[in-house]
Amino acid sequence: MAEALMLCLAALFSLTGMGWLALSLEVHWRQLFGRRAELSASTANWLRLAGWSSLLLSAVLCFIADRPSMAVLVWVMLLAAAATTIALLLAWRAHWLRILALRIGA
């Protein structure tokens, strides 16, 4: 049961990680907050840092849940699933991702 929880959290963090990395790109930032929304360099840096940390955290959780040889596979595949999900959300339900911008976007 603890393993299932770890894996769920790992999936969640890979999703938020990919989401933040997507927001750090101007084109997607504007998709969410309008064409003229400015993405400052410092915001972009923060988003990038949050994104990579989140992905790293997801990796750590994978390694806690499974033995290393298995965890590598799970993590790499989770990244693919998360990136696909974020891309599809950006295509059809982009506003859902505003939640990831927290207060930075307000």
Binding site: M18, A22, D66, M70, L73, A81, T84
Partner: protein
Amino acid sequence: MKDSFLNRMTWLHTWLGLVLGFVLMAAFFFGALSVFDREIDRWAIPETRFDPQPMPSFDTLLQPVYARLKPHPVDMAATQQRVIGELPHPDTLPMSSLWAYTTHRDPLLQIGAEFDVPNKLKDDADEHAHVHGWATIDPRSGEFLHNNKLKIGSEWFYPMHYQLNWAWLNLGAWLVGLAGFTMLVALVTGVIMHRKIFREFFSFRPGKRTQRSALDLHNLSGVVALPFLFFFAFTGLVIFAGTLYFPVGHTLLKPLHEQHEVLEAQRTGLPHEPSGVAAPLASVDAMVAEARRRWAARDMPGEVGLLMIEHLGDANGYVSLYRAGSDQVALVGQAIHFKASIGEVLREEPPPSALGSINEFLTGLHLQHFEHWLLRWLYVLGGLLGCVCIATGFIFFVEKRKRKHADSGSQGSRVVDALAVATVTGMLIAAIGMLVVNRLLPADLGGKGDWEKLAFWVFWIVALLHALVRSAPVAQARINPAWREQCRGIAVLAVAAVGLNWLTTGDHLFKTVFTDTYWAVAGVDLSLLVTAGLAVWSARKLAQRAQTHAAAMAAEVAHG
């Protein structure tokens, strides 16, 4: 200079991808299905819908089963070609070795044996004077699975994945190997061509022209699944490299290979040859108990996954027990070998060398006999992303050329598009149609499996013909209506399969999910329903797109 290099890469990517993409599509799609091959088997053979079983007792259950196992007629016929003189009656051939293999997902047990043949071989270099027998049994009763049954998952979709069910001269396997190599080339050239990997990492713009959105999806699926696609193409090649593609151990380096076998036998103490002195078989169950005790003592408790006995009935005979790899990437491991006549441990295998571990990891990650349901589903997703990547590659190819072809009167994009329809929606129709036929045919029909195979090919050929017949609009730069028509066909077949499963077995989804949970069947049913939903949605989107396109064309004509 740089431009011509890029052009060459583009040329390679386009044409290799187009020619072998059709094979790759089958490899990825049936590979994705093979992740759940055992579950599809349960769906297709309702009498085997019970829980996975551990390796049964050898002494009480398996021993009498092996006494009933005889050489398989198919291998008898194949061996007859290689030997001088008539083979003796299969019932008289002595069994010289045997094996049994199971995983944490198998209700049924696969068993097999080798039988000695007294005949001389036609070819001196060929020294395999054996004929094989194999069977699938119910490990609770020892009953053989009736031979009219086809395990659609593991005996049809799975071999389709790596050899296209085309065994003649191994051509299917060679073709898939070539396609796997092409995949590696396509990935490398694709990355070189795609100059905005990071900027467009998440880009998919479904609202744009078909050509643009197809390219978006092509890039997206190719990039996010890059590690998966690369490693699965690569490990697929590794799995076959030693046995099929470069069997140097049996050709070029044969003397070395044999010498190695003899030396290995000396080093490990496991006899390479029978002694010629008859000996009884001690209790194998006691050996299993000892093996399990030793695994538990090493802090890796487990079940027996693979059981083998070499030199049966001989004083040199030995029993090998391999631990099932449910909790590791490698298929099986931690082998312990026992002297068959007295049951004492001959050798406990040390952990594999670094190279051995890498090999076990690479093959294991592809063959996936481990227990990890999340990773299993992620693999399905990876396989489907591979399919999306290839399918959108076809669509992009057609979209880029069809207007030019329409102006010049060329039929090129029309033919490619029809082939794409047959490999994308047609393949789904063949696979799901086969499941429908499986539920329609009576369970005791002789040669039921052969009818199912025939139905698979018929569905596929009909889908191809339909795509070709309906392809005329492509030559006028419009969409082939076969795309949406076949999507509707998929939806109808998928719903029919679920309904027929309910009607013929009584296993409806409410029962398999809630009251009498059986995820193997529920999972197949649910996947079929999701497929039906996606197919209906796609058909609707395609119809909308055709309408807007027609309106735009009409406006153009009116203005023109």
